[in-house]
């Protein structure tokens, strides 16, 4: 049983740190990042709990979480007030006009 305990504690501590980041924010992207990572932690926590309660066939739940986490992250990015950003056409257009930090410019090409 011990490793379940160790993993659960690690996940809970990690969750707490992510929560702090989600509340502090700084930028809106930090929040999205924290929420996304928090979702992954929840998936793992659910998987662990399924094993702890001795019903490992409930892993379906973890799958739903993983799925919804992805979809909501994509939706959040789609609906930020800086919308349209996930489009490659848009990227090209912006690269011509908007000043982007050179370091990122390199990484994107």
């Amino acid at each position: 049983m011990t490793y379940f305990t160790v993993a659960t504690l690690a996940i809970l501590v990690s969750m707490a740190m992510l929560l702090v980041r989600a509340f502090k924010g700084e930028t809106v992207y930090d929040r999205i990042l924290a929420v996304n990572s928090f979702g992954t932690k929840t998936v793992l926590l659910i998987a662990l709990m399924c094993f702890m309660t001795g019903r490992p066939d409930f892993i379906d739940l973890a799958l739903v979480y993983a799925l919804m986490n992805f979809i909501s992250t994509i939706a959040v990015l789609r609906f930020t007030r800086y919308h349209d950003m996930l489009d490659d056409d848009d990227l090209r257009a912006r690269r011509l006009s908007a000043p982007i930090a050179p370091a990122i410019e390199e990484e994107l090409t």
Binding site: T53, G54, R55, F58
Partner: protein, 135 residues
């Protein structure tokens, strides 16, 4: 683990419920009110589900063992449908908010009242109007 939550669950549920209620009462933004209602709703669901838990029990999906202890299936059933109905009603509330925004150009309660009744509308009696709003 000898940790016993006792009545802790219910207290947290009450805290959540009151947080939701406070949001609904004190915030003027309509979407914020809907969020507050959602918090309230989750707290009620949590309350029911907490009551359904049986110590050492498992999810009410029957297994072969004869002596298995199950948690109460009834709160699950009631709350499961409540969640889906809840999102449907939330959608109606949000749709109303969208239409209100289209009609008044704002989601703030007092601004809507102002547009409806003029500056000395029913909202004006509640407190001093501070017009030094930045931006």
């Amino acid at each position: 683990m000898t940790l016993d939550p006792g009545l802790y669950n219910y207290w947290i549920v009450i805290l959540l419920m009151m947080t939701g209620l406070y949001t609904v009462i004190s915030r003027g933004n309509l979407v914020k009110k809907v969020i507050g209602l959602n918090v309230f709703q989750v707290s009620v669901i949590m309350f029911y589900v907490s009551m359904g838990k049986v110590e050492g029990g498992m999810a009410p999906i029957l297994v072969e063992e004869a002596e298995a202890v199950y948690s109460n299936p009834l709160p699950s059933v009631l709350m499961l449908t409540a969640i889906v109905v809840g999102v449907a009603t939330t959608a109606v509330a949000l749709a109303l908010a969208v239409r209100i925004h289209e009609a008044y150009g704002t989601l703030e309660e007092d601004e809507i009242l102002e547009k409806e009744y003029g500056a000395a509308g029913p909202g004006a009696a509640d407190g001093p109007v501070d017009d030094h709003e930045p931006g």
